[in-house]
Symmetry: C2
Subunit: 221 residues, 2 copies
């Protein structure tokens, strides 16, 4: 069997073991047995438990990023792009719960080096979502001065909401990827949609009644 | 000086050191020096680096939870409650950036025991937000069958968005707590507000034009 194929089998076994048992509790014996290879071969190919974990993080991060990019089709209108990107994200995290646990839980709870690997992937996704929101704002032509800083904040909020929902969906039986994506669209799109149309939520001045106001010209930023 | 006062000084120094240097790099020498006490006294009072870190997590988690609870005033209408709760949250995380770094970054990147402490606090905040959304839905009387599962998902999304924005705000100079809260209200409230009024975002059937539709009777859940 070619080395590349063997390595993928080892990574499959490692992602499953790290995702289900946690990084600390996972043993190289268990991973080798699950991969159907000897433990010395795992060390020969992937060097150490740390290096094996890093290889898992990189593979799962690349797969997730590619799934989201493939899902958000730039020819669609903004809400369809967001819907298809979110559906792709939740479909991927639902199909690869161990990979998601490695990325969002294990990699962030076992030291700065692993956390740094995931932070790089996250920054790439936030930048991608920021561009998507900026493109939507340009498309709407309603608020050309939409400040990049607020767009960055919105992208951070959306990514954080999606991460949190993916954890919850994977821990709750019977929640489908489509339902998770619909929950987030329900939560987020009307808000973003109003913003694109120049309608901001306005915080109360003391004693004022707040609410979403159409055509507000000086939103709080 | 009474022991309780000394301990608070040690915890102040420890939160600052863990938050700024990270758990691994922080040294007990540095913490003792910053607290103005001897290192043996830190060990005498707080036993070990692990126990000191756990004490920091518990103190900061309690302070954050109390700040959010105090901020969300139940006599207000739902959007005002959310606004004041979010403002309280972002004010607290902006004023205590080291405490927030301990809770949201350090405690989650150094093993399951510390991560478990933070997970308990987070579950409490999600439950609190879930009750807030359920109360708002009851108040609106528009969708009495609003399923608890979808409300849980919305609460997870809101908490994830707030965590992500707090990280971003603390890493970005010149972003105020009020601006962070306004960004999240802009992002979230119009969406939640539409939901409370029975308007769901509807995912596209193949070929359909999507959008927020008033009075949709069979939302995707």
């Amino acid at each position: 069997m070619p080395r590349a194929v063997r390595e993928q089998q080892m990574l499959d076994a490692a992602v499953r073991t790290f995702g289900q048992r946690g990084y600390m509790a996972a043993s190289m014996d268990e991973i080798a047995e699950l991969a159907g290879v000897s433990k010395p071969l795992v060390y020969l190919y992937l060097n150490s438990k740390e290096d094996l974990f890093t290889a898992c993080i990189r593979r799962e991060a690349r797969a997730l990023t590619e799934a989201v990019r493939a899902g958000a089709r730039p020819e669609l209108p903004a809400d369809r792009q967001l819907w298809s990107g979110l559906t792709a994200f939740f479909t991927h995290t639902a199909r690869h719960p161990d990979g998601w646990a490695v990325l969002h839980l294990q990699a962030r709870t076992h030291g700065e080096v692993f956390a740094g690997e995931v932070a790089a992937m996250r920054a790439e996704i936030v930048a991608f979502v920021t561009q998507l929101i900026l493109a939507a704002a340009r498309e709407a032509h309603r608020d050309p001065d939409f400040p990049e800083r607020e767009v960055s904040g919105l992208a951070e909020a959306l990514v954080g909401a999606a991460e949190s929902l993916a954890d919850w969906a994977n821990a709750t039986s019977g929640v489908t990827a489509r339902q998770s994506a619909a929950t987030l669209m329900n939560f987020a799109w009307a808000g973003l949609g109003d913003l694109m149309a120049g309608r901001h939520w306005s915080p109360p001045e003391d004693g004022d009644a707040p609410g979403v106001q159409a055509g507000r010209t000086s939103p709080v930023r």
